[in-house]
Symmetry: C2
Subunit: 398 residues, 2 copies
Amino acid sequence: MVKKFGGTSLGSVERINAVADRVLEDIQQGQKPILVCSAMSGETNRLVALAQEIYPYYYDKAYDMLLASGEQVSISLLSMALERRGISARPLLAYQLGIKTDAIYSKARIESVDKEKLLSIVNKGEVPVVAGFQGVSGSEITTLGRGGSDTTAVALAASINADFCEIYTDVPAVCTADPRLVKNVSEIPKLCFEEMMEMASLGSKVLHYRSVELAAKFGVKIHLRSSFEKREGTLIVPEGEVLENPVVSSVTHEANTAVVKIFPIPDGQGILGQLFALLAEKGIVVDIITQSQNEEGQRLAFSILENDLPATEALLSTFLESKNQMTILKNMAKISTVGVGMKNHPGVAARFFKVLNDLSVPIHLVTTSEIKISAVIDTKNLEASANGLHKEFDLENE
Amino acid sequence: MVKKFGGTSLGSVERINAVADRVLEDIQQGQKPILVCSAMSGETNRLVALAQEIYPYYYDKAYDMLLASGEQVSISLLSMALERRGISARPLLAYQLGIKTDAIYSKARIESVDKEKLLSIVNKGEVPVVAGFQGVSGSEITTLGRGGSDTTAVALAASINADFCEIYTDVPAVCTADPRLVKNVSEIPKLCFEEMMEMASLGSKVLHYRSVELAAKFGVKIHLRSSFEKREGTLIVPEGEVLENPVVSSVTHEANTAVVKIFPIPDGQGILGQLFALLAEKGIVVDIITQSQNEEGQRLAFSILENDLPATEALLSTFLESKNQMTILKNMAKISTVGVGMKNHPGVAARFFKVLNDLSVPIHLVTTSEIKISAVIDTKNLEASANGLHKEFDLENE
């Protein structure tokens, strides 16, 4: 059984000891655990801050080597805590376990894992304690990007054809909405991969998008649960295994949003392609895009993370002839409803817009897919809208 | 040219940038530097404290992996600082450079270095930035013990048959005594390997004993100098290269000392061998030993570091029949004079003891070698004795 522990679960000596106690109980009950660790909470941020001071926006070998040290510390300490409890632990860095990735530093993708080595350690009766988030390309250390330890855990589970991967975190389950924003949220006992992927890409911070994508690809079910409580959390499974799908499973939001409108768009062949290529080069992720044409000319609007606004404005002011062509909407939020049940229940969009309309909330951008509806609204309307949608789709805890 | 930077030289972003500036100047002057780094100052202590909290006195794989993370951070950051200055830097962990050691965790010894890899990186015009203090045994990370980064630097210099190894530290040179204790100390421009080894083993913290031993073995001269000033520091060279040896080169001390006296010693074949074996098992280093026999029985006295006193007392109380057989002298210090010139100048011991006698300082233990005299005295007499000896042997700065 692969068990991944997040940074909060390993954030202090006390918590590392608590994790070791829990692993000891699992072993006494006959489990053969394979552990994957994140860096102790705060550590990655500390290292990133040092790096930014020395060479901002430099993401290469040295940066990845720096960040990988965080997991090296946590697996060493957890291994020592296990050894103290009489458990033979084997701390494993990526190069020692052959977690091979491509060479794209700071967002590498796992290509293979040395499954034989992993199984031989387990079969010797040792507990592998694997550094998450890191890989190796040739002899160089790579890292997988934020949340990458989840992906390491799923990749290990997939490599040994495990049915399950447990992800221990600081929340007891995936909820129907963010409890800091919405009243009476419920815990979701089961979700399908597609829903979880949508939620991850729409702003839910609980699981890393790529880890769910990988789990779906290899059919590894994820059990997301609290490292502080023993009860079960949320199972993330193939769609067929969720017997009764609610129409909507959750209300998700991303508060840190801005909208950029351009009118008129400069003339020229492939001008939009050029613009989005330039934005991508700067690492600016463009989310919702709408474009329309009428007699007056071509209109474009797109949403980005608000953090990326200064870089975007700088880029556009050289790209456009005049600043008047650009309108920026700040303090925006994206609110979404997600659910595989939407496929079979028409009318969800109608209910979604009615809720916002009844609350007199203006909508700036909209996008939909088979299983989600998203709208960009003003942040000041976020709380009322989220609570309204949560209630409308019967997600409240009774 | 191998250049080693200690923890204080890399202790902050500002200092890392200063080291990078200095390396840039060296390169502009035609040097092809090979850099070796310690962990940022304070970092190793932080990691040791975490380890001690989780599993005290556990020195195995996981412990060494933990400690090795400190140098991983410093080489990454220095590499980034160099890259920002347009220098192509190559951060190298021990496994990447094939720094192979034995498998004695936390005090491993270097067996070999992949010289071809090191030279090929230099010949490509890259600057190797090597993690000191760490090695690899099989696929496991080992560490070389406190001060081990000096040893890494000398080992790299030896592997490529370099004449010199520069060690940058927070003092400008080796001094004739500790300036915090003795007035008017002088800087020593040249010392021979044997003297530096004695000084290192007698309490001087400037260089690691093993690094000097290795330098002597391979004829690598060490240039110890300040990372904050440009002037030359102390050269450590073969004895033949020091033209004029002063009788005594330095006064060295170790304040953290305790003396244990045992009388009568229990009867039995090989009883002393047993005792010292038990002490060694606990990692207690016994320094000066004296033993004497008269009609009353056998007497034994030995000195240890005061930190080891609790463990020593615990061990002796089970080893001896009665506590009355044991006398402990606390708050002791060892004071020594060192100099290869002593070989050719008789009468140094007489002058040494006369100084202490004139100051009415009682001596608890004494040991001598061809090039040093050491005495254990009460700590309260340390300052007066050190100043007296420093003056007697004409070491004062004029």
